[in-house]
């Protein structure tokens, strides 16, 4: 199983590892790894990093993420990396089973 490779000491889903890889690509903070427990505002995301990250996530998972930069920023909508993972998991689940 390919997901074995990304399992560390804690179980991590495919989605979680993909989200972490996408966030890691945008982070500017001087920090070797992105962890599920990391707060978004500790990762040094600037200006357009947030919307570029959303684009990467939407492309990766074929989902539409509702987000308007005028009503808050990513750091206020999602506290931790794990919050982003949960939101993506939920959007992916919705895509797989459209509302009846």
């Amino acid at each position: 199983m390919c997901d074995q490779e990304v399992m560390g000491a804690d179980f991590m889903t495919d989605i979680a590892s993909d989200v972490i890889a996408i966030i890691a690509k945008r982070k500017r903070a001087d920090k070797p790894n992105v962890e599920l427990s990391d707060r978004l505002d500790s990762l040094g995301l600037e200006s357009l990093d947030g919307v570029e990250m959303i684009f990467d996530l939407e492309e990766k998972f074929d989902i539409q993420i509702p987000y308007n930069a005028n009503t808050g920023n990513l750091r206020t909508q999602f506290d931790t990396v794990n919050d982003v993972v949960s939101a993506i998991e939920s959007l992916v689940a919705q895509r797989k089973s459209p509302a009846t």
């Binding site: 200006s47 357009l48 947030g50 684009f55 308007n68 930069a69 005028n70």
Partner: protein
């Protein structure tokens, strides 16, 4: 150095296809924002609210064989220029033609041609595009087309600085007339980029309002894309007087600068420097200004930064200013915005009526000035300022005076 006056105004806008209808609707606080029709409002499109120039029929303005060479942006540009020139009463015969400039702002030029042509080959698998694809879409087309349609043989070019394009263009034209480099200028801005591809691009930035534009208001949700053109005729005061022209207003100052900071986030310091440069160029003090036509896009970031910058520049006088964003009514016409706003500012001073900021729900703690909410107001205006702050951190500000 000559005093530079405006003797003609023309406009094609979401609130009417003439300067008169535009101004009447601005004063009435009408909204030009509605559902998109220029591209199918299907499920592929999230952003469905725009400010379109409605029911614009090119064949009402141009013979059929001319239309094939004109992108929508050039059609708007020519119609507005012709109206402004007609109002000025100038005919560009020799030798005046040689010393008459066409300096036009446009953010992206012929975007409709771009989208339509490349959709054919990339999506519809057609084999060829029109031979006029390139001359229609080139960003200089609006200036070239005005020069040809109106017989202007002096300096002609397009200025591209995104949302500040028209203000930069008008500022350059103003300085060229003031210094005597040209004897007359047709200047302004034109934009027509409500296309599927452009809307999708704006959507991806996550700065668009889903319904209306509420600059400086509590609960504002972002900007609304607009389109249109506005043009003015500039000439030296002595020339206008000598030919007995009606003088609609005076341009007295222009300031510009760059943030050299973030690609899209507004910079309060950069805004301040451009406003101060425009006041210095005009030889006016902050207390001399009564009205500011704000950049006021309706995004959280712009409106807060611009309010802060107005405090910095105007000090305690900021509270006495009437400030409004006409983008609440016509959306953000990007490279044409500064020209639409200059026209509004000149007419506001002339009539002593400030057009409102519509859609205003109530104060936001970060935006604590007088934005003339929802209803036009009588204000005696001697001098006014118009701000344009572009993506890429490019800022341009004009100062005008009522002519007396």
């Amino acid at each position: 150095m000559s005093r530079v006056v405006v003797t003609g105004l023309g406009a094609v806008t979401p609130l009417g296809h003439s300067i008169g209808s535009y101004w009447q609707n601005l004063k009435a606080g009408a909204s030009g924002i509605g559902p998109v029709t220029l591209t199918p409002a299907n499920d592929e499109l999230v952003q469905k609210a725009v400010a379109e120039v409605k029911q614009f029929d090119p064949l009402a303005h141009f013979p059929e064989r001319e239309v094939s060479a004109l992108d929508r942006v050039s059609q708007f540009a020519i119609v507005a220029a012709r109206e402004a020139i007609a109002q000025s009463g100038i005919t560009f015969d020799m030798p005046l033609s040689l010393r008459a400039a066409a300096i036009i702002g446009s953010g992206v030029g012929g975007q409709t041609t771009h989208d339509d042509s490349f959709r054919r080959i990339y999506r519809e698998d057609r084999k060829r595009v029109s031979p006029l694809t390139i001359p229609r879409l080139m960003v200089n087309a609006p200036a070239s087309q005005i020069s040809m349609a109106c017989g202007l043989r002096g300096p002609a070019f397009v200025v591209a600085s995104a949302c500040a394009s028209a203000t930069h263009a008008i500022g350059l034209a103003f300085h060229m007339v003031r210094s005597g480099q040209v004897e007359c200028a047709v200047t302004g801005g034109a934009e027509a980029c409500i296309t599927f591809g452009t809307l999708r691009g704006w959507e991806a930035m996550r700065v668009m309002s889903p319904d209306v534009c509420r600059p400086f208001s509590r609960g504002r949700m972002g900007l609304i894309l607009g389109e249109g053109a506005a043009m003015v005729v500039l000439e030296p005061l002595e020339r206008a007087r000598a030919r007995g022209a009606e003088i609609l207003g005076e341009i007295v100052g222009f300031g510009m600068g760059a943030d050299a900071a973030d690609l899209t986030a507004p910079d309060r310091g950069g805004m301040v420097r451009a406003m101060r440069a425009a006041l210095a160029d005009a030889g006016l003090a902050p207390r001399d200004i009564q009205y500011v036509n704000a950049h006021g896009t309706g995004t959280a970031a712009n409106d807060e930064s611009e309010t802060g910058a107005l405090h910095d520049v105007f000090g305690t006088h900021a509270e006495k200013l009437a400030i409004s964003s006409t983008k609440s009514m016509v959306g953000h016409a990007l490279g044409a915005a500064g020209a639409l706003e200059l026209a509004a500012m000149l007419l506001a001073a002339r009539e002593g009526i400030v057009p409102p900021t519509i859609g205003y729900l109530g104060p936001d703690p970060a935006c604590d000035l007088d934005y003339v909410p929802n209803k036009a107001r009588a204000v005696t205006i001697d001098a006014a300022m118009s701000n344009s702050f572009a993506f890429g951190g490019l800022n341009a500000v004009l100062v005008t005076k009522k002519f007396s």
